[in-house]
């Protein structure tokens, strides 16, 4: 789609400035070059011109020059299709490494002119195209690969268009302050949750274990009654859990960096992420202890996100 005629030269033209909140493709930052189709069109016009000269066709000249004019006008149209387009980053949801990070960009027209077939492109990925109605906005989502955990910044995004005639490729670069948090890729399911730490015992509620109301799950310990095993979660391959009932002591699960010892850093983080997910799915309260961070035990979606965030940003400058 894009002309790849002068990639190196284009690198030299790279003048995308670091934008903060939003970017406006102003006049000086929209570039334009003919596409391969455009060059072919030029060749066609040359052939038509030579034919008109050879056969002294006055109307041949008229037609040729009309198409030349059309080419010039197409250039202006392509250019204005892009010029003064405002781009703001939209909300980005965190993802696990390996899943595509979806960056949403909001393209806004403030010149009361409908823009058609505007494409966003990151690196050599296939572009995504959309229309912007006059005086309105459109959201275009770019899915970027997430090879590793941490903050993913899309960096330079190419905004381009070849509308209306495909003779010219107009483009501009934006570098927006968009970032997507990438959680570590969780270890494959099946690693059981570590045994409970002894905190619960210290609270001395172990003795009051009774068969009253169901209150939650805890990791399976040898000796637990077969009847209390939560087969549902084991069927989900989330490991073996034992159902706890009201009156049973509320055990607090600490997911500790040290528990995942014996592996490299990334594998440890992956394992911790898996545990956090499992614990969350099982409805357990858990805390996270990393060398520099400690998240007190808690439950719920927000808590899980906080833990995963800590894992994602482990070792990175805050």
């Amino acid at each position: 789609m894009a002309t790849r005629a002068l990639p190196n030269w284009r690198k030299l033209l790279r003048t995308a400035r670091q934008h903060t909140g939003h970017a406006m493709l102003d006049r000086r930052h929209v570039y334009i070059l003919p596409t391969r189709s455009g060059l072919l069109f030029g060749l066609l016009l040359l052939g038509m011109l030579l034919g008109a000269i050879n056969y002294s066709l006055s109307l041949g000249f008229v037609l040729t020059f009309w198409l030349v004019g059309l080419g010039v006008v197409a250039m202006l149209h392509t250019w204005r299709n892009l010029a003064h387009l405002a781009i703001t980053p939209g909300r980005t949801a965190p993802v696990f490494a390996g899943e595509p990070a979806v960056f949403r960009f909001i393209l806004a027209d403030r010149h009361h002119r409908a823009r058609y077939a505007i494409g966003l492109k990151h690196g050599n990925d296939p572009p995504v195209l959309g229309d912007v109605p006059a005086g309105s906005t459109t959201e275009i989502a770019l899915a970027l690969p997430t090879p590793r955990r941490g903050w993913l910044r899309p960096g330079r995004i190419t905004v381009f268009t070849q509308f209306p005639l495909g003779l010219f490729h107009a483009w501009g670069y934006v570098e927006l302050e968009a970032a997507c948090l990438v959680y570590p890729r969780p270890a494959p399911p099946g690693t059981p949750l570590p045994r409970f730490s002894l905190q619960a015992a210290a609270r001395g509620r172990h003795a009051t274990e009774g068969d009253e109301d169901f209150s939650g799950l805890r990791g399976y310990r040898t000796g637990d009654s077969m009847r209390r095993i939560d087969w549902k979660s084991s069927a989900r391959e989330q490991g073996l859990y034992t159902k706890e009932f009201q009156g049973q002591g509320r055990h607090l699960l600490w997911l500790d960096w040290e528990m995942a010892a014996g592996r490299d850093t990334e594998s440890r983080l992956a394992l911790l992420a898996r545990w956090a997910l499992d614990a969350h799915a099982a409805g357990l309260a858990f805390g996270l202890r990393l060398p520099a961070t400690e998240i007190p035990p808690g439950q719920g979606e927000a808590h899980l996100q906080a833990c995963l965030r800590a894992l994602a940003l482990f070792g990175e400058a805050p």
Binding site: M1, S37, L40, F41, L44, G47, M48, L50, G51, A52, I53, N54, Y55, S56, L57, S58, L59, G60, F61, V62, L63, T64, F65, W66, L67, V68, G69, L70, V72, V73, A74, L76, H77, W79, R80, A83, H84, R110, H111, H112, R113, Y116, A117, P127, L129, G130, D131, A134, G135, Q162, F163, P164, L165, G166
Partner: protein
């Protein structure tokens, strides 16, 4: 981005190509455009039924078969006609393998090329008026191809394509007027461009000019500076024929350029401008003895004006001629021999008659008078003479006695030569039809004529028109006046000034302007035009400068117009609301910046209790229309009426 474009796009592409194909029906061998049409319909059918396109196993033999068909029909694959036929069919075949966006773009380009190829065969006003149609359809298709998924509305595509074509017109005009015209051809013009052009030929035999007289095609048009001379004096000289083989008159030797003038003018020259239709022969038709020969031609010893190249395009030239003169050239022995040449045998009765005249009275003038008297007494002027046998001169002079100008001119020169008077046949055109609507003279093929010139001692070459002896109206009023009713003359050459003919003359005047200013806008015309603009003859450098300047101006202006921000589109409800707000503002209640329609209405209703009901009604209706979701034309009309009737009190 190579997903298959939508069906509607394919439909439009094929439709646009069909529009570009349409003018080619007029000149292509009929199976070619029909096959192209069939291939297009097949392509559409495949797309509509979502069936796969044919593979190479089918397309390749089909392509070869098409090429073979053209080879048979046109006798070759190259040359103008065969080339265009090939282009038409290859474009149709290309649609059958077009899948991707790139293929579709290429097909549209081929469509543009088809458009220009149509002009190779005709540059008439109707065709020129038609051409924007395929151009618009092709451009709209190109817009559709380049939209994200080809889903852009058809109306929008056409509106955008139309706007762009209109915006392209200034550039086109600037280039048309100022782009330096290089006179063609750059490479050889194929011979087939000359096919089917009617006009004088370089020989004359009985029936050749009467055949030409049935055509009302325009040979050339002429404008005189000052009053046009009388019709009877308008002898437009074409090829001069010297050699006679018993049936056909031919030019014989190659004409040689005239070293210097050999006549005395008796009166001022007539000045005129001729716009000559291409006839693919070198003759430039001038009146009698040219005083000024156009720069592109030379004058020969027998006073033919010949262009250095055959006239392949419409040619405009200025010339001046003397209609009153005294030719006083001397005949050298060689020329005298040519002017007395007769075949060694044949037509004995004519020879005997000439011998008898010479024996009776040796004076050439007396012999001429006798010959003319003979024609005048017993001959009939007709477009449909009876056929002549092996001795055409004898047959005409003594048996049939019915003939057209070539019979009279040919037999007259034969008689003169047989009587020992040097003579030659001159062909060309005589007279012409004045077009009162354009103040110019139309000379048609039906005005083709042949006459004789005899050389007399002391007098030099002198024109004798034996046809005038038979039918004087021919030279005074034109061929239609001289022929009896019922002769197969073309309608336009006839005398009656019917409304149809008036219409035709008007149309011819329009065509003449078109020819002069659009089709005939060549290097010469361009230079004249620019010289008139600037006051001096422009150089190439000046033209380049002007062109650059004008293009910069045109493109700059287009850019400025195109790139300014558009107007915010308001819906009718919003416009009515704005008017309502303005009325209230004039009544001293401007809307506050942070005030929505609801608050504004409430405040207004409170402040203007007397208009309270109306204000509430408008406010509710506006909110309903603007935020209610569904378009409601009745509601908008009601809102507009309410606002119109609203006068805050």
């Amino acid at each position: 981005m190579s997903e298959a474009p939508r069906l509607s796009l394919i439909r439009w592409l094929l439709f646009a190509l069909g529009l570009a194909l349409l003018p080619h029906f007029a000149h292509l061998v009929s199976w070619v455009p029909l096959l192209a049409l069939g291939l297009g319909l097949w392509r559409y059918r495949l797309a509509a039924t979502r069936r796969p396109l044919p593979g190479t196993w089918l397309l390749l033999p089909l392509t070869l078969a098409v090429a073979a068909g053209i080879l048979v029909s046109y006798g070759g694959l190259f040359g103008r006609d065969a080339g265009v036929a090939l282009l038409v069919l290859m474009t149709a075949l290309k649609t059958l393998e077009a899948k991707s966006r790139r293929d579709f773009t290429l097909t549209v380009y081929l469509g543009y090329f088809l458009c220009i190829c149509a002009f190779l065969f005709s540059q008439s006003i109707p065709l020129a008026a038609y051409m924007p149609l395929p151009l618009l359809a092709l451009t709209a298709t190109l817009v559709g191809i380049n939209h994200t998924d080809g889903a852009l509305e058809g109306v929008l595509r056409f509106r955008l394509a139309g706007a762009m074509l209109l915006q392209a017109v200034p550039v086109m005009l600037a280039l048309f007027v100022l782009f330096p015209r290089v006179p063609g051809p750059l490479w050889g013009i194929p011979q087939d461009t000359a096919r089917g052009v009617t006009g004088l030929s370089d020989d004359m035999s009985p029936g050749s000019i009467s055949a030409l007289s049935r055509s009302d095609a325009v040979a050339f048009r002429a404008i005189f500076r000052g009053a046009p001379p009388p019709s009877a004096t308008l002898y437009w000289r074409g090829p001069v024929l010297w050699n006679f083989d018993g049936r056909t008159w031919r030019a014989g030797e190659r004409p040689i350029p005239l070293p210097g003038p050999a006549y005395q003018a008796e009166g001022p020259p007539v000045e005129y401008t001729v716009t000559l239709e291409p006839h693919h022969k070198p003759w430039l038709f001038l009146l009698d003895l040219p005083a000024k020969v156009p720069g592109i031609g030379v004058l020969t010893t027998d006073y033919q004006a010949l262009a250095r190249q055959p006239v392949r395009q419409r040619l405009r030239y200025e010339a001046a001629s003397h209609l009153e003169y005294r030719e006083a050239s001397r005949l050298d022995a060689h020329t005298r021999a040519r002017a007395l040449q007769l075949p060694p045998y044949g037509n004995p009765r004519a020879r005997q008659l000439a011998e008898r005249w010479r024996a009776e009275n040796g004076d050439p003038l007396a012999i001429i008078r006798q010959a003319l008297a003979l024609y005048n007494a017993e001959f009939t002027y007709t477009l449909t003479p009876p056929p002549l046998g092996a001795s055409p001169v004898d047959g005409f002079l003594f048996d049939t006695r019915k003939g057209f100008c070539e019979h009279f001119a040919g037999s007259f020169v034969f008689l003169m030569r047989a009587a020992g008077i040097p003579a030659r046949v001159v062909t060309g055109y005589q007279g012409g039809q004045a077009n009162p609507l354009g103040d110019y003279l139309i000379v048609r093929q039906s005005d083709a004529h042949a006459w004789a010139e005899v050389w007399l001692e002391e007098r030099g070459w002198m024109r004798i028109d034996p046809t005038a002896a038979v039918a004087p109206q021919r030279v005074e009023l034109g061929v239609a006046a001289a022929l009896p009713a019922g002769e197969p003359l073309p309608a336009l050459a006839r005398m009656e000034m019917t409304w149809l003919k008036r219409l035709e003359l008007g149309w011819d005047a329009v065509n003449n302007g078109w020819n002069q200013w659009v089709l005939g806008y060549n290097q010469q015309r361009q230079m004249e035009f620019l010289a008139r603009l600037s006051g001096s003859r422009p150089e190439w450098g000046d033209m380049a400068l002007w062109l650059t300047g004008l293009l910069t101006l045109v493109v700059g202006a287009s850019a400025a117009l195109l790139l300014r921000p558009g107007w915010p589109a308001q819906d009718p409800a919003q416009r009515a609301w704005r008017r309502f707000q303005n009325r209230l503002a004039r009544a001293g209640m401007p809307p506050r910046p942070a005030e929505g329609p609801r608050d504004f209405t409430e405040r207004a209703a409170r402040q203007l209790p007397r208009s309270q009901q109306q204000i509430r009604q408008i406010g509710t209706l506006y909110l309903q229309l603007r935020y209610g979701g569904l378009p409601d034309h009745d509601g908008i009309a009601r809102l507009q009426r309410l606002v119109r009737q609203f006068h805050p009190r």
